[in-house]
Symmetry: C2
Subunit: 452 residues, 2 copies
């Protein structure tokens, strides 16, 4: 192999004034100023300004004149303080620049079909050109924040004593009883993609008491909305020996801690793109009925026959929560038992309602959960009552034959959390490679015509 | 809801001698000693001894006499030092015991069908009763170690400046060109389960330069071996601006750091079950040809026509590595180009071989990777040479049109790492709910007969 020069990251350069270094990265912008060419070069740590002066290196100047955005380059040069008046205090490397002595092209790039940094690119453009548009500063910010949300969730869960588990996604039946399942040809058998890690994380309560899992969930939703994907990332916890009031405290704490972590970790991204920090205030807790009363009183819609909140209800309740409680988060509890999956514990005082909860964030549900039924016979009955066959739940039910403590859990949707935290208009912007009815990477319609 | 007593975890009790506390957990063992009943109660933190004396609480004694393993209980009692001579220095709580004042059954358990702690339970028994056998001390140890391996990998990757990404598992085609794909009915379209996060993590090098991802990979292997699963967990990194020699250093560092982290974090589990700590020594690096020469010389088998190592070769080379280099890990490089996927970079000096590498651990491959082709035209040609259609790789190829740096990556299999780290005989023991040809939770044969 060719020998490689020891590389310096952009963010390290301010400490190296006067030193000769080697940078590697992508050309972000080129500006020709009379006899000088200025390059913004980007690597994983920061953007940095490179000055190419033909008096310093004529060869480099010739090469620099060829460069276009996304060319991959190696620059040998000297770190210099920027002249007075050209310092940019908003950038990590805003006080220095690199005077190029040698410039090498590591990889050329075709001309970009459009400016990927434009803020008003339409969603189909963003997605049809995903491998390119993900390189924009905004996309980089979105997915840096997403990585921090993931880490923030895991940190919050581990602080609560949870053990991380890995659960399978190929399953033999519906966990939630719904019809929106993708089927898989599994050798000679029919199998499905999991709708949630629910049954497995519950089983694992009897092993580790408190567990967390990051998993993919699949829903064959035959609709195209701004907040549904066919494949999502779920951040789940399941916790033994808790009651309803304890778990409400726990998930609110996890939400605050996860969002706070992401905001602090990505301070720079929030500042650069004006992402609005979350107002935590005093998180209101409403039963579904209380929420419906507020909707009637404050927004004039009678929704009391509904078994769930509609998207508009969620928007309105969050508006109310922000105004009255200074909180971007609202907890809704006690959904009707019939509207919830079989494992949901009915409220012992009023069995038509259940010990279930959702968390809303700026108008969208980002989390769902409940206290679970842990009595074997009651669980079998609940499965039968919903027209399902307990034989299809053999492995799961076994856990309840042998001593399951009172327990509950919850699941945050990573893409929804990311979307609402950053004020994105469509959940597809919060997924690197979103899956929906119309697309797996490329649009189906486009693919057919390209091949046809 | 019922009021709940403030709960103390077992491991906190040694600091609370003389205090009254409330424990919650599972009955692990009951021993009747004349007028006393001793209970081993287990919670997420530790096992603890509870003494039930009818002179202290007759009611508790009656309840204790009913208890069997896996009953879920709540114990109110006083923390006492154990009498001289009964201290168990091997346990966290071995110096104390709880004198029960009140005992409550939170959930009963059926009688266990067999002793789940037996060390010689057969694999079908372990798997047919997974929801129960996962509660054994050994299973708990295995999956505590697995959680630490995951964390150790993420820590090592983050220390290298990688950003965590989430990639989809529903894909439109084969990434590796193999035929072992599970197909999915995706709305009106045919889709597949991903064989690896390969193409997506490569695309993301152009965004974050260094990425890590934990993902599920699916292989429809029509065979049943001790080291294959249909659904596995992969720990991947992909790194821009590296050459062959650098990435060899990087993945060896990641392996050592990940395994060391898990061993240190799970010191107690390693001690309790006599899991053998890894010998790192000086990790040997061999080309496939060199490995084949050693196999011929030391083990008398001529394998030089083979394009890969056989399972026996892997065992033999690891035996050699342990004896000659004191290392449980061996790196093998330069597999034949034709035997590797299209994205693998041929060795510029000898294009019949490639800049690829596997890592072996105690006789089994646990990692695979390569330097990638990053030149657009070369990549298109490599796809065509393997009889595939570049049109099926549109989104992926786009990343290479717009400046991809030299890059490479690798993928560790979580279950294989766990299996070899703990000396397990079968990979199924290293997966909570293993998927293979014969089973999704329950064996297909069993299921059919139960329903028929």
């Amino acid at each position: 192999m060719a020998t490689h020069a020891q590389r310096t990251l952009s963010k390290e350069t301010p400490k190296l004034i006067g030193k000769e270094i080697v940078l590697k990265g992508w050309v972000h912008k080129r500006r020709d100023h009379g006899k000088l060419i200025f390059l913004d070069v980007i690597d994983r740590s920061a953007v940095i300004q490179v000055v190419v002066n033909p008096k310093v290196s004529e060869e480099s100047y010739k090469i620099a004149a060829e460069l276009r955005p996304q060319y991959v380059v190696e620059v040998k040069g000297v770190v210099k303080k920027r002249p007075e008046g050209t310092v940019n205090p908003d950038e990590k490397t805003g006080g220095i620049e690199i005077e190029a002595k040698e410039l090498k092209i590591l990889q050329k790039s075709e001309s970009l079909p459009f400016d990927i940094e434009l803020s008003d690119l339409e969603l189909p453009t963003l997605l049809d050109n995903r491998s390119l548009t993900l390189r924009s500063a905004k996309a980089r910010a979105i997915f840096s924040v997403q990585a921090a949300v993931l880490k923030g969730f895991r940190k919050a869960a581990k602080d609560l004593g949870a053990t991380e588990i890995v659960v399978p996604t190929i399953v033999s039946g519906a966990t939630e009883g719904g019809a929106e399942l993708f089927s898989v040809e599994y050798y000679e058998h029919k199998a499905f993609l999991s709708q949630s890690p629910q049954l497995y994380k519950q089983i694992m309560v009897s092993v580790f008491e408190r567990v967390l899992t990051i998993s993919h969930a699949y829903r064959a939703e035959p609709s195209v909305t701004t907040r549904h994907l066919s494949e999502t990332t779920q951040m789940d916890m399941e916790i033994g020996f808790v009651d309803f009031s304890e778990i409400l405290d726990i998930f609110e704490k996890v939400a605050v801690s996860m969002l706070t972590y992401a905001q602090e970790k990505c301070e720079g991204e929030f500042k650069e793109f004006g992402f609005e920090k979350t107002s935590f205030g005093d998180i209101p807790r409403l039963t579904l009925r209380q929420a419906q009363e507020i909707i009637k009183k404050e927004f004039g819609r009678d929704t009391k026959e509904d078994k769930d909140l509609t998207p508009q209800d969620e928007i309105d309740i969050c508006k109310w929560g922000k105004e009255k409680h200074g909180s971007d988060l609202v907890t809704i509890t006690h959904f009707p038992t019939v509207a919830k999956p079989f494992y949901t514990m009915p409220d012992p005082g009023d069995s038509g309602y259940s010990l279930s909860y959702d968390m809303l964030f700026r108008g969208v549900e980002i989390m769902s959960g409940s206290i679970r039924i842990t009595e074997y016979e009651q669980l079998v009955k609940s499965i039968k009552d919903r027209g399902m066959n307990p034989l299809d739940f053999g492995m799961y039910l076994m856990a309840f034959k042998y001593g399951m403590p009172p327990e509950g859990g919850f699941s945050f949707g990573l893409e929804r959390v990311t979307m609402k935290l950053l004020g994105l208009q469509n959940i597809r912007e919060a997924s690197l490679f979103p899956r929906d009815m119309e697309r797996i990477d490329e649009r189906f319609s486009k693919k057919t015509s390209a091949k046809g």
